[in-house]
Amino acid sequence: MNIDITAPYQTRVRQALADDNLRTALERAMSRLSEKRAQAVAAIDLQRMRDEARAIKEHAIKNLPELLEQLERNLIANGCQVHWAQTADEANEIVTDIARQRGVRRAVKSKSMATEEIHLNEALEDAGVKIVETDLGEYIIQLAGEPPSHITAPVIHKRAEDISALFQRELGMRPTNDPAEMCAAARKQLRSEFLEAEMGISGCNFAIAETGTICIVTNEGNGRMATSMPPVYVAVMGIEKVVPRVEDALLLWQAVARSATGQEVTVYFSVSSGPRRPGHPDGPKEMHVVLVDNGRSRILEREYADVLLCVRCGACLNACPVYREIGGHAYGKTAYSGPIGAVITPLLADDPKTAKELPFASSLCGVCREVCPVKIDLPRLLLDLRHDLTKLGTPPKYERAAIRAYSNTVEHPGRYHRLSKLARWFSRFLPTNKEGDLTRLPPPLSAWTQSRVLPRIAPRSFRALWSDRGGKDMGSSNDG
């Protein structure tokens, strides 16, 4: 990883754009992902799927308090222990307390964005618990000491060659670029972790209120392992994950599978409603569910409920032309990257100015909205956040001054005409190529001309041509 996630935004972006290996890795993976999604959604009534998925999530957010209470009631009736955490720290404390009380030394974790968000691994390690990521991608980046760079494909930023080098170094694997061999090496290593761990940790894709059930979506089977083999199972879930009925979870599961990887369904859908029952040969002896707020209720307060609809499928990342250029690490120290990350990162933060550049890291092309299985209008949310941030005064002062001056001009056609004329006159003194295009502009417009030319102001404006032609004017009584 050549990106320092703690560096300033522009530095991170520069590092990402200069990283040829990163760009190769993204290039190889992302076009495949988008193609597979396109095939999978072409086979079904996509609009119906999106409408139904959206309706379920809207209902869930509208009825969040009641559904959470129902979920809690049923989880407890099923023999689970339920914990509530307002902050990341509270959630981490709950999990480390459970570990401490049971003398847990080793824990395995199935891939989970919520635990990534609250930095649970660090908290457990500080408490003396060895925590092993078991999703192959997460395992690779844990070995490399890096954070994930994608919601569903955490190691998308690495080429097979990079992973091979890492496994040779860390696991003593023989030199090979064959993913099957690398996978076998990881299986061997992780199998013993599963069998020896005293605690299994997972996130939660959907929680079913009517039955008190936690659903985990995986392909590798690590979710089923982590929730079945160790004696203690802890599920950490964001409070927005609850849905009313069993059918709703099954529908969203299919929507996520098609959107994320182009599968009809994922290989495993592990549906846990409690610890093992008397007489059952396996399954955890106790099951805990930690309901984590960590900024979600505040997102609702800030009137960004739309964000809580997200099902974390990663489709918006896979489709995003900006993500494809810079990958996930350029989004900084956050669990979430891409369009949804640009929205959710500043919203989850205590200080709304956190990650203030991210809402601007979009050309607003709208492809994220097009692929979102729950129809989140991400460009609109980016626009709203930009508005919030300019009100807080985060963009450079000259920008506000320029926009103010521009709007003062535009409101008054007379001033607008004078400004156009001035610009036309001024542009005669700027350097051009032999075709007459501007090649060098002063800052901040130099950012344009570094890689692009700009046409000069036309010798005669449209309105001049129009009046030459004797064309009709209308509504010109309010000149300023």
């Binding site: 926009i403 129009w466 209308m474």
Partner: protein, 265 residues
């Protein structure tokens, strides 16, 4: 004087030429006017028009954008209200999207009753050029000629905000002598994005370079687009990279006003 729409034989269109076309590409505006006139509309040009406010809105400056929007509404609203024009047409997907979709965001909530009324009135009759030609005027054949290959890049706002896509393609296909070729990864953004092109110049350039590669791969003599902003980005890169600008506004091709491969001979 108020005339009802039905008194007129030909629909009357108010041209919203957009600030970029007015100052940088007046030829595009003239081509749009000629097209509309040739296909059955009378065109008027409210001369006090300026900018729709999109640059400010997209950058997050809503108070400033609101002032610009109000100017637009004060100018065009009464024309529509009094029935002096039947439609407002602009040769730009993104400016039309601003009027049709985002003006209502600017005037949300109480205290904006008058603006809300005008927004509803105006957005109802505002069209992108090819949308108006096909959907309203029923044009199928533009009766233009072009001796070369043409490809089409669907600009993001036209495609995804307005969902206008078949109209320009249909009209381009009617150009005599032109061969329409595919643009690889055509739906990918060119990387313009307004102030994004400045604030995130590196990313914007990388995205645009990808588009340039697709354009070169397509082998097209002309790339037709519906927004001059995207055209500026693509030609700006093409020229800087020494390939010659070949991106043209769809209106110019449809109007037959584009010479074959203007800058590559």
């Amino acid at each position: 004087m108020t005339r009802s729409n039905s008194d007129r034989k030909r629909p009357r269109v108010a041209m919203f030429v957009t600030c970029m076309v007015d100052t940088l590409y007046p030829g595009v505006g003239m081509a749009a006017v000629e097209l509309l006139e040739r296909h059955g509309a009378d065109v008027v040009f409210p001369e006090n028009q300026t900018c729709c406010g999109q640059p400010a809105f997209n950058a997050g400056y809503r108070d400033e954008a609101r002032r610009m929007a109000r100017h637009f509404l004060d100018l065009f609203g009464p024309l529509v209200d009094k029935g002096e024009v039947d439609a407002i047409v602009a040769p730009s997907g993104s400016c039309v999207a601003m009027v049709k979709h985002f003006y209502e965001v600017l005037f949300e909530g109480p205290g904006h009753n008058n603006e809300q009324r005008l927004v509803a009135l105006v957005s109802e009759v505002t069209y992108e050029l090819t949308q108006y030609l096909v959907d309203v005027l029923g044009v199928q054949d533009v009766d233009a000629e072009y001796g070369g290959t043409i490809t089409y890049h669907p600009c993001c706002h036209l495609l995804r905000e307005l969902e206008v896509d078949s109209q320009p393609r249909q009209l381009l296909a009617s150009i005599k002598g032109a061969e329409i070729v595919d643009l690889p990864a055509e739906q990918e953004c060119c990387g313009f994005g307004g102030l994004f092109a400045i604030k995130n110049a590196g990313i914007s350039t990388a995205m645009g370079q990808r588009k340039v590669e697709s354009i070169l791969q397509s082998g097209a003599d002309a790339v037709a687009v519906g927004d001059v902003s995207c055209m500026t980005q693509m030609n700006g890169l093409l020229k800087k990279m020494g390939h010659g600008g070949r991106v043209v506004h769809v209106a110019e091709l449809l109007n037959g006003s584009t010479p074959r491969t203007p800058e590559r001979q």
